[in-house]
């Protein structure tokens, strides 16, 4: 029983890491319909800013995390105005080529600035080791990740489903011309949504840095995880990637505990089967 609960917890914690690094993509790709493969770039940058502030300036972890999130969101806003704006309505191939190009450029820049090595991160003492929780000894860092993940999904759900800002975004995504004609400033709205997506990516990069190491190869190395979560979740919904990430985290963790000899193949086989069954992601199953 203890084993089952521990595995459940590890699965959710791992899913939460996947969710935190992918949730930004579900905003830019899922809501704004831009195929933004360069999502990892913003996560990487958030990670770099967090780690650099901590290691070189002694900034506390949470403050460094917030700084990374805000700085990258500002950069996202600027990039949206300068570059991404031109991609709305262009073909998916154009968007893919553009964002892959951006990955290569930013990986090279990161390498010049921080070197090719992975950045070590030392978590603050209150996130190290284990805590007693419901009679179980659980790793503190993972528990904090789970807490963060739930806070983020709650915040996003509230933001998109219950505020005027969210309603405007949903309206703009559904029908841009109509939204404009009722007086919504769609340009500004998309820039803000994009900044939000990149800020979330940076948050995920910083929070997950202890598990997914920050190095110039980050955007390409983990692109598969972002895409799996968004593909299994399906587009156009803010809660679906959350369910998808938890599902993948649980399945992968259970496999590694009970069937370690299957190795890395399992997760891909799992996604394969899910997508054959539900080509548009798990939201399709919920709708039907």
């Amino acid at each position: 029983m203890t084993t089952a609960i521990t595995i459940l917890f590890f699965g959710i914690a791992y899913g939460m890491i996947l969710y935190l690094i992918s949730v930004g993509l579900s905003v830019t790709m899922g809501l704004m319909n831009i195929v933004n493969l360069a999502h990892g770039v913003f996560a990487m940058l958030g990670g770099y800013i967090t780690v650099t502030l901590m290691n070189h300036l002694g900034v506390p972890f949470l403050l460094a995390l917030a700084a990374g999130c805000v700085l990258v969101a500002i950069l996202g806003f600027v990039l949206e105005r300068l570059l991404y704006r031109h991609l709305y309505g262009r073909s998916e191939l154009d968007q893919v080529l553009f964002s892959i190009g951006l990955i290569f450029v930013s990986a090279a820049l990161a390498r010049i600035a921080w070197g090719p090595l992975a950045q070590p991160i030392e978590l603050p003492d209150y996130l190290k080791g284990q805590v007693e929780f419901l009679g179980l000894e659980l790793p503190t860092y993972r528990l904090a990740l789970v807490g963060f993940g739930f806070a983020v999904i709650a915040g996003l759900w509230f933001g998109f489903d219950r505020t005027l800002f969210g309603a405007r975004i949903r309206a703009t995504v559904n029908n841009r011309e109509m939204a404009q004609s009722v007086g919504i400033d769609t340009d500004r709205l998309f820039a803000l949504a994009f900044a939000l997506g990149t800020g979330l990516a940076a948050l995920g990069g910083g929070l997950g840095a202890d598990v997914l190491a920050i190095a110039p190869t980050y955007p390409l190395q983990y692109i598969i995880y972002f895409l799996i979560v968004v593909a299994v979740g399906g587009l156009g919904d803010i809660k679906a990637p959350f369910l998808a990430a938890i599902l993948i985290g649980l399945a992968d963790t259970a496999c590694r505990y009970f069937l370690p000899e299957v190795g890395a193949i399992f997760i891909f086989a799992f996604v394969f089967v899910v997508l054959i069954w539900l080509p548009a992601g798990i939201m399709q199953w919920r709708r039907s």
Binding site: A118, E137, D210, T217, T253
Partner: protein
């Protein structure tokens, strides 16, 4: 910024190798004998830190010993990046180095899968290949043109199994990275541990690209063995392993962690912190060793790369590899004959390596002392402190499988 400078130096090296050398070679050939050495290492990605250790060792050796080369003999290093475990790329790079750049000696060989691919190629190309840190036993069997200056996993794990069993530990568990050296380490430890009365109650192989180790380690904790044999290829992965052991609470339990020295690599100890205290490992090199050759080596390293950098066992293997290459160049006065070179390399010895006395045996494998070390805190700094020595160990696998 040291690293950008290093990159530009490397880029210059590459540019020099492919472009300028072609132009200059003709003009200079009359006066100078240039020996071209192809170096294939991991210069980018998660495990670039390990490649950097070897690369720095090579550069430092050349800088300090270039003047020892015979009159008119020069060496030229042509460096290539294999980006990690990637045998196809390593093979292609080796092909280009041999066919286009006309290198006379190949070296590097950081990863076993890559070294296997390159070694297979040297059999046809007849190019001597000094593999520095690949630890899979089979590498030196791939071709008569390969020698190894690093270590094998059998070397560091076979004696360890016996030692562990003699501590009275009955139940063992093995957890290794899922690639050739990991399989070797698992087999070596299992064999000697069970031969000496121990029992393996579980084993797991973790894919190299894994980022979340907790499920594997939770299972170990649930099985509650006396001792866990661990292998990973060192570098950032070693720290990730140690953090995960700590996260599931194994470091604070009665379960002992042991393994080859990779798992507590000295350069990663500061990142691991106190989690690593008490872990017992077996390895051929520790920068904390006090023999003179090592003290000089570490001092030269710190002078070149900064006081807070430490050469690890990858660096020591690269250092001896370069020493061997220099010795065969000197012995042949810069005219490299592949078969004569291999004959020299298979008899090569160095009584004064930073690791102590080393030599290469008839299998092309290194024979060296192995040291038992425990992670301890000395003056507030973590170090692998040596507490026992096993003299002059060859590759046990070759000995056990000798017909």
């Amino acid at each position: 910024m040291g690293i950008p400078a290093m990159i530009s130096r490397r880029l210059f090296g590459i540019a020099f190798g492919t472009g300028a050398a072609v132009l200059l070679a003709g003009a200079l050939q009359a006066q100078a004998q240039t020996v071209k050495i192809g170096v294939i290492l991991t210069y980018s990605g998660r495990d670039a830190a390990l490649g950097e250790q070897i690369d720095r060792s090579i550069d430092l050796f050349v800088k300090l010993h270039e003047k020892e080369l015979p009159q008119g003999v020069k060496i030229e290093l042509i460096k290539r990046d294999d980006t990690g475990v990637n045998p196809d790329l390593a093979k292609r790079l080796a092909q280009e180095l041999v066919l286009r750049d006309k290198v006379q000696i190949l070296t590097g060989g950081q990863w076993t899968p890559n070294a296997m691919a390159v070694a297979a190629l040297t059999k046809e190309a007849k190019i001597p290949f000094v593999t520095m840190t690949a630890g899979g036993s089979a590498v030196t069997l791939q071709s008569p043109y390969v020698v190894r200056t690093g270590w094998t996993l059998w070397q560091t794990s076979y004696p360890l199994g016996e030692w562990a069993a003699k501590q009275g530990w009955k139940n063992g568990y093995t957890v290794v990275s899922d690639f050739a050296p990991g399989h070797d380490g698992e087999a070596a430890f299992t064999k000697s541990f069970t031969e000496n009365g121990g029992k393996i109650i579980g084993s797991v192989r973790i894919p190299l690209k894994t980022t979340d180790y907790l499920p594997y380690f939770q299972k170990i904790k649930d099985m509650n063995p006396d001792v866990v044999y661990v292998f990973n290829p060192g570098g950032p992965q070693a720290t990730a392993f140690m953090k995960a052991f700590d996260d599931v609470g194994i470091t604070k339990s009665n379960i002992k962690l042991i393994g080859p020295g990779d798992i507590t690599a000295s350069d990663e100890l500061p990142n691991m912190g106190k989690r690593a205290l008490g872990v017992i490992t077996m390895l051929q090199y520790s920068p904390a060793a006090t023999r003179k050759a090592n003290v000089d080596f570490v001092a030269a390293w710190k002078k070149e790369y900064g006081a807070n950098t430490v050469p690890n066992y990858f660096a020591a293997a690269g250092w001896d590899g370069m020493r061997a290459i220099f010795d065969v160049i000197k012995a042949q006065n810069g005219k490299i004959d592949p078969d004569a070179t291999m004959k020299l390399l298979r008899q090569w010895k160095n009584p004064n390596s930073p690791r102590g006395p080393v030599r290469i045996d008839e299998h092309g494998d290194i024979v060296q002392n192995l040291y038992m070390r425990r992670v301890e805190e000395k003056d507030g700094v973590l170090a692998n402190v040596e507490f026992a020595t096993i003299e002059q160990v060859g590759d046990p696998w070759k000995v056990l499988n000798k017909k």
